[in-house]
């Protein structure tokens, strides 16, 4: 069984700018895959390369083993949920959802039936006659989803799908999307700049930086074993330690990462410094200190005494918490 999507040394230039720089990527069938990265890192371009709105300057893209280099978007069995939903303002919800079936030549009764079915699936069964302008943001999001899914695509692409929703709705939709993906078994690929969203939803994810993939792995791998300083910094606000400090802590002369939650207060410890600030986070308190010339953050779970600002403290950590990284940033 070929992978759902495969990038082979794909490069995309915009003038002199390399938006995507020789990327190799394999996304397994049925995966819920996230592309994570700051804006301008190339993740959205990768998504548009899969849908066909961008064409690679070099390299090859395969969907289910099939080279789609010469296939325009409208002939790719791939659908997209756009960031701003891109609903057709002049069509009703029902016509929006059945649009893909209509242009493929399906009769009215049949396509409306399928569209109604899909609307029911996204819990918008009674909204078919409305115009997009009469819907709330969350409802439009579901219409966009239904409009894409009704075509039974091999791969569903989602571009910052939850970006425009408020926090509560976003959390509900995260669960719904996840459940929907499991139920349909379709490969979902979504793009986001929100690391917590990526970590909580995806089976596996790729972290993008400056047109390249910095790391691919499961959320746990990415979180606990960041491959580069960039990943450690971008995903979950790790402490990044320079080679000298790593060495002082007993590691090799390489960059390393240390999660704030693995640090513990101790009478004596390898790290000592003065508390500079503290921030109460509900489940605990985050304090910052400068130790051995490096600014560090530590997460102290609730129920512990919190040293006030200005106090000299020592910190310790379990031996396996110090994660050694590649030297590449």
């Amino acid at each position: 069984m070929p992978p759902a999507v495969e990038f082979r040394a794909v490069t995309r230039h915009f003038g002199p700018v390399k938006a995507v720089d020789s990327v190799d990527l394999t996304i397994a069938e049925g995966a819920f895959f996230a592309m994570l990265g700051p804006s301008g890192s190339g993740k959205t371009t990768c998504l548009r390369l899969i849908s066909g709105f961008e064409q690679p300057s070099a390299g090859q893209i395969r969907i289910f083993g099939e080279d789609v280099s010469a296939t325009p978007p409208h002939l790719r069995n791939v659908n997209t949920v756009f960031q701003d939903y891109a609903l057709f303002p002049h069509l009703t919800v029902l016509d929006n959802v059945s649009y893909g079936l209509m242009v493929k030549g399906m009769g009215k009764t049949q396509r409306y039936a399928k569209a109604e079915e899909m609307l029911a699936l996204v819990k918008l069964g009674s909204y078919g006659h409305r115009k997009p302008a009469q819907l709330s943001g969350g409802q439009r999001q579901r219409v966009a989803l239904a409009r894409a899914l009704v075509n039974e695509p091999k791969v569903l692409l989602l571009d910052e799908p939850l970006g425009a929703l408020d926090l509560k709705l976003r959390e509900a939709m995260q669960d719904e999307l996840k459940a929907l993906q499991r139920r349909l078994g379709i490969t979902f690929i979504f793009v986001t700049h929100d690391q917590s969203e990526a970590l909580s939803m995806a089976d596996s994810l790729a972290v993008f930086n400056q047109g390249k993939i910095a790391q691919i792995g499961t959320p746990a791998q990415i979180y606990t074993q960041p491959a580069t300083r960039f990943v450690a910094d971008f995903v979950g606000s790790s402490n990044v330690l320079p080679p000298t400090l790593t060495q002082a802590l007993g590691g090799p002369a390489k960059w390393s990462s240390l999660r704030p939650e693995s640090l513990r207060l101790a009478q004596t410890g390898p790290l000592t410094g003065t508390v500079q600030s503290q921030r109460y986070l509900g489940t605990g308190t985050r304090i910052t200190l400068t130790a051995q010339g490096t600014e560090l953050a530590a997460f102290l779970p609730a129920g512990q005494p919190i040293p006030p600002e200005g106090t000299q403290i020592s910190l310790t950590f379990p031996p396996n918490a110090l994660h050694i990284m590649d030297d590449t940033p």
């Binding site: 709105f53 978007p73 409208h74 997209t80 756009f82 701003d84 609903l87 409009r147 075509n151």
Partner: protein, 270 residues
Amino acid sequence: MRSDAPLSLKLTAGAGLLFLHLPILLIFLYAFTSEERSFAFPPPGLTTKWFAVAWNRADIWPPLILSLQVAFLATILALILGTLISAAMSGAKFWGRDQLSLLIILPIALPGVITGIALRAAIPMLHLDFSALTIVLGHATFCIVIVYNNAVARFRRLSGGILEASADLGANAFQTFRHILMPNLGTALLAGGMLAFALSFDEVIVTTFTAGVGAASKTLPIWMLDELIRPRQRPVTNVVAMVVFATTFLPILGAYYLTRDGAETAGAGK
């Protein structure tokens, strides 16, 4: 939230509008004057006979029909060309884009007399005779920008993704054009077309240069120019002006509502 307008603003705005309309009221008044050849103020007497006279004047109808035909053809041409440019301009960046935007505006930004005299010099070089068709040629040239402006503004307002969304859902370029682009662009094109039509219908400067000889090239404004220069039954021109004024009322109102509603729908995709 918005407070009421200051009195001084209301007064100046009102005075400005009055300035725009007093001469028009005068045109209406002199459609009823009993004087025939040249006007003097105040009118010596009032009569409604000029409406009947205008109706029966055989020489009004051919220019009126010609003007409608010319405006119609010029509008169609401008619609096609203006839409093509706006589609090209709203797509990818390409070399010469800025120069092209200048070129489109040129026929209306340069004085009509320049456009007129240039076409006057060029048309014989194309082995064309001056005729109603060359009037259409001239009018279409400066109507393009009217259509273009309306269309390009709508392209800009269209939530950019909907054309991509259509392709994504499996529509080819022609299906996207028919099902997505035209319904969303339609009202803007209609509004642009109406404005272009009205502009062509009243145009006199370029027309005097591109018109042929004889009755076959006599548009309504040219007829009016003749009538005004050589007055006989001058109130008849006022009657015609008044009727044209009254009949443009609805299309202009229509264009207003079309572009206004269009803005709302197009913005709603966001």
